[in-house]
């Protein structure tokens, strides 16, 4: 019996953590499905937004963290805007993504790699270096020629710079990233 109780306690704690991080309560959801009906990405999802919440209500938190949906969510906020129970579904999807990232439970590498490369670019230069970002993203996801047909026309139209802009405060931005990481490691924030 104990072996089944212990994980359940752990799961409850994890679900509470996700609720705190998202600032929303999953028990408020009465499963009407309005969020899923308006979700522009639901057609490509394994679990609709309503189903993701149901998984959490049933304490199937592993399944929720492994849902491909959390990586397909575009944070368009339609679900949150329309929920009749005031559930912040978009924020919940966001919190699940962060938790999955933290635990290395990444169902969709492409999105996770994009986020990682993006933030590294910001930490390094203070601003996003678009050309470098796309190149690195392609390399890391093994899609060498993805979007390359856009590169030359962008350069010709002055819509892409071959070199990064490095702001004077790039060290300040790097320090912000480092301090946040430290504060998170010390679990002083969620």
């Amino acid at each position: 019996m104990e072996t089944t109780l212990a994980p359940s306690k752990e799961k409850k704690e994890l679900i509470r953590r996700i609720e705190r991080s998202s600032g929303t309560e999953i028990s408020r959801c009465y499963q009407c499905g309005k969020c899923s009906a308006g979700c522009p990405a639901s057609s490509g999802m394994d679990y609709t937004p309503r189903q993701v919440i149901r998984l959490l209500q049933l304490e199937m938190v592993d399944e929720a963290l492994r849902a491909g949906s959390i990586w397909l969510c575009a944070t368009c906020e339609i679900c949150t805007t329309r929920c009749p129970r005031g559930v912040d579904v978009a924020s919940l999807m966001d919190a699940l993504r962060r938790e999955a990232w933290r635990r290395g439970m990444i169902t969709d590498r492409r999105v996770a790699v994009f986020n990682d490369v993006f933030l590294k670019s910001v930490a390094r230069f203070g601003r996003v270096f678009e050309a470098g970002l796309l190149l690195e993203y392609n390399l890391k996801t093994g899609q060498l020629f993805k979007d390359t047909e856009l590169g030359l026309p962008m350069l010709q139209r002055g819509k892409m710079h071959p070199l990064p802009t490095i702001i004077r405060g790039h060290n300040a931005v790097r320090q912000i990233c480092d301090r946040v990481q430290r504060m998170e490691a010390e679990e002083r924030c969620e």
Partner: protein
């Protein structure tokens, strides 16, 4: 009027013509843009998908800079605008988080900054009458579909200046310029955002639905105030057409490009010739206007 200005990363690169046209529009309307010294990236979706504290700290560094200037902050990029508004709202209500953020950014910040979008600036602070009084070449006969996307209007608690489901500020601005915006269903649908990069089979379909809907409603163009929406509807048009097997020639304008053109600026001066989908032709078809400030 003086306002602090945060261009954001994309207005310097992929949305260069948005940056150009915001500057022109400000000049026409007598607004002095004071660019934030040494601004940094807002962190966008990648930050809030990865770390809650980082997603607030990266905007907060810029908001702290704006607070020092003591001016409202203009953020033309809808995504930056949304992150800034979310940060301001959260930090106003959570003193504990505000302390953590101040520690993370190593700067003083009291959450008194106020970020505004281009729509708020035009329809609110400047006002429709003031805009109409500057029009030299009315956009007569232009039938744009006003496209807001997500970040300008949602969530309503952060943005709050227009209705999240049925916004009208962009339509009113277009009318002040002499255009006849169409009524359509996809005003606030999502363009697919970065899914067009990471999951094109889903993201490009979303962009395609917006284009199809605008065309079906008889629009002859689309207007946007978001670099990400513009990228997906304009720069990725070829990819959308290939995936969906459609051929849609609607040009996509930034709202500030149309303000500038209606006030007598040339299309080239605001980068209308730099789009991927041909956009200068529809402007050339407009009646000549009084030409008093043209060229």
């Amino acid at each position: 009027m003086r306002i602090a200005y945060y261009p954001g990363c994309s207005l310097e690169t992929s949305a260069a013509e948005y940056g150009l046209s915001v500057a022109k529009t400000a000049q026409i309307l007598g607004i002095e843009l004071q660019e934030l010294p040494d601004w940094s990236c807002c962190g966008a979706t990648s930050a809030h998908s990865t770390s809650r504290l980082l997603s607030i700290a990266l905007p907060a560094r810029n908001l702290a800079l704006a607070e020092q200037e003591g001016l409202d902050l203009l953020a033309p990029c809808a995504a930056c605008y949304n992150r800034f508004r979310a940060t301001e709202r959260r930090l106003r209500r959570d003193a504990g988080l505000l302390r953590q953020v101040a520690e993370a950014i190593g700067m003083e910040y009291t959450a008194t900054s106020r970020t505004v979008s281009v729509l708020e600036l035009l329809a609110g602070s400047v006002g429709l009458e003031a805009i109409a009084s500057k029009v030299r070449r009315p956009l007569e006969g232009l039938r744009p579909a006003c496209y807001y996307g997500c970040y300008l209007v949602r969530p309503g608690e952060y943005t709050g200046f227009d209705d999240p489901e049925y916004p009208q500020s962009m339509e009113r601005i277009m009318q002040a310029l002499g255009a006849e915006p169409v009524a359509w269903s996809h005003q606030t649908e999502c363009c697919g955002a970065s899914l067009a990069t990471t999951r094109p089979e889903v993201g490009l379909k979303m962009a395609g639905e917006i284009l199809t809907s605008a065309e079906e409603r008889g629009a002859d163009s689309i207007v946007t105030a978001c670099p990400l929406c513009h990228m997906n509807l304009d720069m990725r048009r070829g990819q959308v057409q290939k995936l969906l097997g459609v051929n849609i020639t609607l040009p996509v304008y930034y709202i500030t490009q149309l303000v500038a053109v209606a006030c007598g600026e040339t299309p080239e001066s605001v980068g209308i010739d730099r789009h991927f989908v041909e956009a200068a032709g529809r402007i050339a078809m407009l009646p000549a206007g009084d030409g008093s400030t043209a060229g």
